[in-house]
Structure formats: structure tokens, C-alpha cells
């Protein structure tokens, strides 16, 4: 070891040869985040008559490694909205702190002004867009669930590019492929969603979480689920998938020891 910090904790030059420090070089283009590192998978959400149900599992993966198994990816805002995070977990933590400071600022005056889910979604989309325009994206896709200006259920997505999207049901990541068709069957349009009961919505979202656990190799059977209504937020962060059946599994080519 020598006095140079860049050599600390690295293989000895005399044993392993000179260290390849090429990636430390400062010339060439400035590079920010090129990929997410520790990631959360799908977030699924569905509107119903007087609110939104939203869910995400409690796993943070490091590549294919199930690295952290108690990560809460549904974050509360001002006791009136939920932001569900997919993608990079450290970026999620940054955004969580950002929203925390925003919430503190909003609470300075007790005059009854609050940012609703719609305002929050607008804000997050601007943050994402600013960062991607700086070529320094926050590697997330988020779903914002809550109420809009008219106290009607609100659900929208924002992602690392600053793209925004709204629909009666939404899902990020793998869920966009697997859960979305299931949710659309229950709520094909806004009118159908506005007729759903809380129980129906809850059942559909739980079913989606189960299917995602069956087919998404980066998912977990422990998950968080929240119901957002005008009455407030009912957030449960330690749920377990129920009534799993893997009977379908041996029909799948490549499952277990089966080879063809």
C-alpha cells in the first residue's frame, strides 16, 4: 500500500501488475449514470370507485442477486398520496428525501394548502425531465396514486425520461407486460374503473402480484400494498402472497430439472 488514495484497497501492483486506472481518466466525455445498480421490479396500481390500490414487492435486486428483501418501495407523501418506485433504489432514496423536504416545506404554513397527487406527479415529472436533460437521469419509473384537484382518484406514471402517462390501471417494469393485461380485463376504461369496488380492485392487484411472482425472476412473495382514498392512506408493508399454486410450473419448458 502507498499514500495514494486511489491505490487503497486495491490489488498490489507488484503482485498483480499495474492497476488499470483507465476508467478514472478525466478526459473524454463526462459520464453520469449509465445503468441502474440495485433495482426494484414492478409496481402495479389500479383505480376504483373512490380511490387507488397500489402494490410493489419488497425486493431490491443486485443484478440477479436478491440483495435486500425488506425494501419498502411504496412511499407516503403528506398522508394523502403514494409514490411507488420501480428501478434504481438509491435514486429512489434520493427522491424520497427530496419529497420529504418538499413535504416539510409544504407544512410550514398550516393554512390548509397541500400538494395533491396530481401536483406531486407534475413535480416529479419535471424533476425527471430536468435530470435526463442534464444527461444525469434518475433511473426510475414511478406511479403516483392519490386524488386530483376534484378529489377524484388519480393515477399516473413518470419515468427517467420525463415521460408521463395516465390510465385507469398502470404497471411498471415486468408488470407492464404481465400485470397490465390482467388489470385491463377488470378495468378496460375510466368508466369501468369508476364502477369497481375497493374489494374488486384489491383482488385484481393481489392476483397481479401473484402472477408477477410466478413469472418474474426478480420478484418476491413479500410485498407492500396501499389503498389511497379521500379518507387517507391504508399502507401495509409486510404482506405475504396467499394461495400460491405452482401446479402450472411443470408444464413450462425449462422448469426445474426438466430439459425439453
Amino acid at each position: 500500500m502507498n499514500h495514494l488514495p486511489q491505490a487503497w484497497g486495491r490489488p498490489r501492483d507488484d503482485v498483480y501488475g499495474a492497476y488499470d486506472g483507465s476508467y478514472l481518466q478525466t478526459h473524454g466525455p463526462n459520464q453520469h449514470t449509465q445503468q441502474p445498480i440495485v433495482t426494484g421490479t414492478s409496481v402495479v396500481a389500479l383505480k376504483f370507485s373512490d380511490g387507488v390500490v397500489i402494490a410493489a414487492d419488497n425486493l431490491a435486486s443486485y443484478g440477479s442477486l436478491a440483495r435486500f428483501t425488506d425494501v419498502k418501495r411504496l412511499r407516503k407523501f403528506a398522508d394523502s398520496s403514494i409514490v411507488g418506485f420501480g428501478g434504481d433504489v438509491s435514486d429512489m432514496q434520493y427522491l424520497d428525501r427530496l419529497l420529504n423536504s418538499l413535504d416539510i416545506e409544504e407544512a410550514y404554513s398550516s393554512s390548509g394548502h397541500t400538494l395533491n397527487a396530481k401536483n406531486l406527479h407534475t413535480y416529479l415529472s419535471k424533476v425527471f425531465y430536468k435530470r435526463r436533460s442534464d444527461f444525469n437521469p434518475l433511473w426510475n419509473q414511478v406511479l403516483v396514486a392519490g386524488l386530483d384537484d376534484d378529489k377524484k382518484p388519480f393515477l399516473a406514471s413518470a419515468d427517467l425520461l420525463g415521460t408521463t402517462f395516465s390510465a385507469p390501471s398502470l404497471a411498471t417494469g415486468f408488470g407492464a407486460h404481465l400485470a397490465q393485461p390482467l388489470l385491463r380485463k377488470v378495468a378496460p376504461d375510466e368508466i369501468a374503473a369508476s364502477k369497481l369496488s375497493k374489494e374488486q380492485a384489491l383482488a385484481a392487484v393481489k392476483e397481479s402480484m401473484k402472477v408477477l411472482f410466478y413469472r418474474d425472476a426478480r420478484s418476491l412473495d413479500k410485498y407492500s400494498i396501499a389503498i389511497v382514498t379521500a379518507e387517507g392512506i391504508d399502507l401495509k408493508e409486510d404482506e405475504k402472497l396467499e394461495n400460491q399454486s405452482w401446479a402450472f410450473a411443470d408444464q413450462i419448458r425449462g422448469y426445474g430439472t426438466q430439459v425439453n
Binding site: N58, A60, F68, D70, V71, K72, R73, R75, V89, M92, Q93, Y94, D96, R97, N100, S101, I104, E105, A107, Y108, S109, S110
Partner: protein, 298 residues
Amino acid sequence: MTSIGTGYDLTNSVFSPDGRNFQVEYAVKAVENGGTSIGIRCKDGVVLAVEKVISSKLLKPGANKRIATIDRHMGAVSSGLVPDGRHFVSRARDEAASWRKVYKTPITTADMASRMGGYLQAYTLYSSVRPFGITAIVGGWDSELELPVDGQVGNGPSIGSGGKVEGKKYGGPGLYMIEPSGLYWGYYGAATGKGRQTAKAELEKLDLAAGKLSLEDGVKEAARIIYVAHADNKDKEFELEMTWISSLDGPTKGRHEEVPKEILEEAERLAKKALEGDDDEEETKEDDKPAEEDKMEE
């Protein structure tokens, strides 16, 4: 003030031959004309209260709050120049936010007092600025439990953090008063503004050092003390504004909030009743006679 007119009192940051900074002393004068503010450090929380003198009938009743939230768990009230009080609060909020950014945890009341003491002191150092025309009372509740770090989304090993002394109590109520000079002390009961002497005398009777007064009783005492302190200034109407911060298992769950309307009204009712009881032992003080009416002060 024998040295008035000798020229040493015209510029901030200048010492007089006998070692005084007159501009800071004059700033204190602005405080002494302002409406009374008090804070009480109870065993399970802190109360802040202020006497808002009503300068015009056209003011919207109940609006124009004077006690500000600095962070979720902390509030501040000041006497003196109201806009200077807003400057103080704005800086305190920045300090609280930057503390959170660096340490990922809420600032303690003691650290806030230290930061703001330093800030006010800096405004006595230069001839290019004037000192703050306020004395501020900062009250807060430092969490007695280990809080999650800001941005924490899960838990590591269940062992928790090390370096803890077994059985030691952490957190609790905090109350500090910061003067225009930047000087600050921690208090059991603090008072500033026009009625400070009366208020201090009342606070001393409470034996706050014993640590027995409950927050619930503290609210009633605070209301009463503001009413008693106002008795010297009876010709002007006033509004009472009160906020509190309780322990995590108390009514505000460690947050700085307005005292709910029902509790405030009950405290005011009791205060008026107590005042009627001892109307005779009133004494008038003539030494802090206010200067000409200044709209900046309340």
C-alpha cells in the same frame, strides 16, 4: 445611554471607548417595544405563545400567524421587528433543511440555537449590515427514540447502531432564546418583548426546573401569562396565538402544531378568569414606554 451623541452609536460593529456596541443595544430596544412572546419547557413537550397586538380593525382575525414551523419538530416565535422575525425563520428553515441533507436526521433544538446564534452574531460584526431587531424563542422536541435515517427504505441487521450507553435517556424538550447580539441560553421558561418582566415573574413561580409541569398544564399557564403580561398594556386589544410540540406519544406526536381551537379557547377562558381574581395586585411600569407607534412592531 450616556454616550448617545458621541458618535460611537452610529455604526454597527463599532465599539465605544467603554466597550459597548450601541447598535446592538438599540436593536434590543426594538425588541422591548414588541408584543410579548413566551416559551415553556414542560416535562413532555414545549409551548410557545405570543401576544399579537391588534394594530387595526381591518386585519383579518385569526390570520397573520406569528409562530412559525422551522422543521416538523420545531417552532419559533419572536418579539420585535416582524419582518426581521421572518428573516430569522427563513434562515432557521434553511439550517434545518441543510442539517437534514448532511446528517439525514432532524436537527436538535440545541444545534439549531447554536446555528442561529452564530447567524445573528454575524450581523453584529459588519458595518454593512444591522443587527436583527428581534429576540427569538426556539422550541423543539428531539426524538427520544432512534429515528429512521432520512431516505431509509428498509432495515439491515436487527442489532442496530452501536456506541450507545445503556440506560441513557436521549432526546426530550428543548427551549432556547436568542438575542440580537447572538447570545443564547437554554431555558425552562423564556419571555421577551414588552411584557417580559411580568411574564418572567410569572414563569419563576412555576418551578419549571423541577420538571413536573405537564404540557397540558403548560398550555394553560402560557395563556394565563400572556394575559397577565398584557394587563400592563390594557388599552390595546390583542389576539393570543399558541403552538406546542409534544413527545412522540403525546398529542402532537413530536410535531410542532397549533394548539387546537378547543384547548386554546379553554386556556383563554381560564386565563381571563384567573386575571379577574387578582385584578387588584396590578402594578404599572412606566420604564418601557414605547416610542412612537411603528407599524413594523407588534
